[in-house]
């Protein structure tokens, strides 16, 4: 799986932003390729948004980058910037924090055995949906997006300790909700 923070941990982010400053068309293509998927999955998993809602927010998050690229050439951490923008937009959207409707392909296996449901991730989705938003975000950003606690703290605008606590509580709760082989 491509983790969002892979490019953040080396010089790729710097190269992307340099490219964006010199050639916005090419630089944006690189940024979009690196972050659109993780942002989309983050919105879908953390805020229980439909595909259309997540795509609308994704578009709103990236749109200023293409209409006024000169304003973003100085951004040093595009991932933090984009995820924070997406988070704020999602919190404002009326669809945030509601029960996530099951996708058709996942609804079909809802009646399957526990092992199948765990294997397909459905049980995980169901358990995640029962967590408070901040805890759910911490798990999604840490395990699915690949962010460090420092980066998550930047997105959630809280302290490192708070993020670590949220993550630990979330994992403990998920262990209760999801039957798994120890």
């Amino acid at each position: 799986m491509l983790l969002i923070c892979e490019p953040m941990k080396n010089n790729e982010t710097k190269n992307m932003m340099q490219e964006f400053a010199q050639n916005p068309a090419r630089g944006f293509e690189m940024l979009y390729k690196a972050y659109s998927g993780p942002l989309f999955r983050y919105l879908r998993s953390s805020f229980n948004l439909s595909r259309e809602e997540a795509e609308d927010i994704l578009q709103n998050v990236f749109l200023p980058w293409v209409t006024t690229p000169e304003k973003f050439t100085k951004v040093e951490h595009p991932a933090s910037y984009l995820f924070t923008s997406a988070r704020n937009a999602a919190l404002k959207s009326r669809g945030a924090n509601r029960e996530q409707p099951l996708d058709e392909d996942r609804a079909e296996i809802a009646g399957e055995s526990l092992a199948t449901r765990v294997e397909t991730g459905l049980a995980i989705d169901e358990a995640l949906a029962k967590l408070p938003l901040e805890q759910k975000e911490a798990v999604v950003l840490k395990l699915w997006i690949g962010m460090t606690f420092e980066e998550i703290a930047e997105v959630q605008q809280c302290t490192l300790q708070t993020v670590a606590s949220r993550y630990r509580y979330a994992i403990a709760r998920l262990k209760e909700l999801i039957p798994w082989q120890r």
Binding site: F28, R51, E55, Q59, V66, T67, L143, K175
Partner: protein
């Protein structure tokens, strides 16, 4: 901060990470809105921009010209034109009324002299002296 090792449960969750991607339409929409895909101002637009600037400047000048129109009509632009100073009339060399002499050639003097031959304001008047001299001669 010390790295937290993931346990098997965390790895299980990590393995079940969603893999879905946004549809390609999102990227296409943004490319349509992108500044680099908008028509750039070209050279043939420059004259149009120049005309607009000239028209704007003309309108500003007209506004300045008609600003005094808010004043009473008598103080309008036409009146102002009349108020422009006319060239001063050329004045010839002024008549010297007195140049070290008494003003004996004034109208009053001539009038009184017409009434009475004896009227004389100046003993320096040559004509008066001459008439007095003639009177003396007659008496002799």
């Amino acid at each position: 901060m010390a790295k937290i090792d993931k346990d098997q449960f965390e790895e299980l969750i990590e393995r079940n990470a969603p893999t879905e991607e946004p549809s390609a339409a999102v990227f296409v929409k943004m490319q349509k809105e992108a500044a680099w895909n908008q028509p750039q101002p070209t050279a043939h637009r420059s004259p149009a921009a120049g005309i607009i600037i000239l028209l704007t400047a003309g309108l500003v000048l007209l506004a300045i010209w008609f600003l005094p129109g808010q004043m009473p009509e008598s103080h309008g632009p036409t009146s102002l034109r009349h108020e422009t100073p006319e060239p001063a009339p050329e004045i010839g060399p002024t008549d010297v009324i007195a140049a070290g002499e008494l003003p004996i050639d004034t109208g009053f003097y001539r009038f009184m002299k017409y009434k009475s031959d004896d009227f004389n304001l100046s003993f320096h008047d040559e004509t008066a002296e001459m008439s007095l001299l003639a009177g003396e001669i007659d008496r002799i």
